[in-house]
């Protein structure tokens, strides 16, 4: 990773400052565990980490089978919220938990910037 653990906070700050984002995390894509987190109260970090990694891994297999390559950004939309994820080259997932009406384009940009910082 190119960012020291202290730099993780800076990466997460980029995401949480977007209006409508309720939390941001770095997750180990391999084992679905929390690496770093900045979450509003009520969001269960370990659950977000485990489920985001699991969904990401299943999605990756489906996308590879479809011939479109690995996901560079994905977005799960729910009626009451959204999960937005950018995987990094070191298999860390940069994750945002957001309100349903969040500016997805803006969150995506900040996730990509954070992913660059994390490496």
């Amino acid at each position: 990773m190119t960012a020291a653990p202290a730099g993780y906070g800076r990466a997460l700050d980029l995401i949480t400052r977007v209006r409508g984002v309720r939390g941001a995390m770095l997750v180990s894509g391999d084992d679905g565990l929390v690496v770093a987190e900045q979450l509003m109260e009520g969001i269960k970090g370990p659950a977000v980490a485990a489920l985001a990694a699991s969904l990401g891994s299943r999605l990756r297999r489906a996308m590879e089978a479809a011939g479109v390559g690995a996901a560079q950004f994905w977005h799960l939309q729910g009626e009451r919220g959204a999960l937005l994820v950018v995987p990094t080259t070191s298999d860390v997932l940069v994750v945002a938990v957001a309100e349903p009406d969040v500016n997805v384009g803006l969150v995506r940009l900040e996730l990509l910037r954070a992913a660059e910082l994390v490496g």
Binding site: S28, D31, G32, L33, A49, A50, A53, S54, S57
Partner: protein, 158 residues
């Protein structure tokens, strides 16, 4: 290989079935800290259950002793991640006494995070389901083999 979930003590069955489904576990063994098997999922041979129960209980006993010697609280759980499989071992406190759960999961189908996430639910479900008037049984060395044999008969429908 059968994928059925079987229980010696019926109250363990529902929580275990739910855990297996949610965590995507391949093998699960629920036992007392002395290695007496209460329930299992995914094992096809009694001999495997015997080995896994003995090894799991021994690992838990060893790590608890290490923690004690270090003056630390007991380890919450142990995880070993291999190339294709992960092994997760952790203790659960119930009215039936301290129990040990051994989980083997495939990395294609599950992860340490998922197993740990749903293990917390399993621990809560087992604590809630354990009989109120349950008293931890002392398993004497002389009784151990007979107890184990009875458990295996139940688990494998003999």
């Amino acid at each position: 290989m059968t994928t059925a979930t079987r229980a010696v003590e019926a109250w363990t069955l529902q929580p275990l079935v739910k855990f297996v489904k949610e965590a995507g576990a391949r093998l699960v063994l629920l036992m007392t800290s002395a290695g007496q098997v209460l329930a299992q999922h995914g094992f096809s041979r009694a001999v495997d259950v015997m080995s896994a129960a003995a090894l799991g209980a021994a690992i838990m006993a060893s790590t608890e002793e290490i923690a004690r010697q270090l003056g630390q609280p007991a380890f919450a759980g142990l995880n070993h991640q291999g190339v294709r499989h992960g092994i997760f071992l952790a203790g659960v406190t119930t009215r039936r006494g301290r129990l040990v759960v051994l989980v083997v999961y495939e990395l294609d189908a599950s992860s340490h995070g998922l197993v740990q996430l749903f293990f917390e639910q399993l621990a809560a479900d087992l604590a809630a389901a354990s009989p109120k008037d349950s008293v931890p049984k002392q398993v004497l060395a002389a009784d151990f083999e007979r107890e184990l044999s009875e458990s295996l008969n139940t688990l494998f429908g003999r």
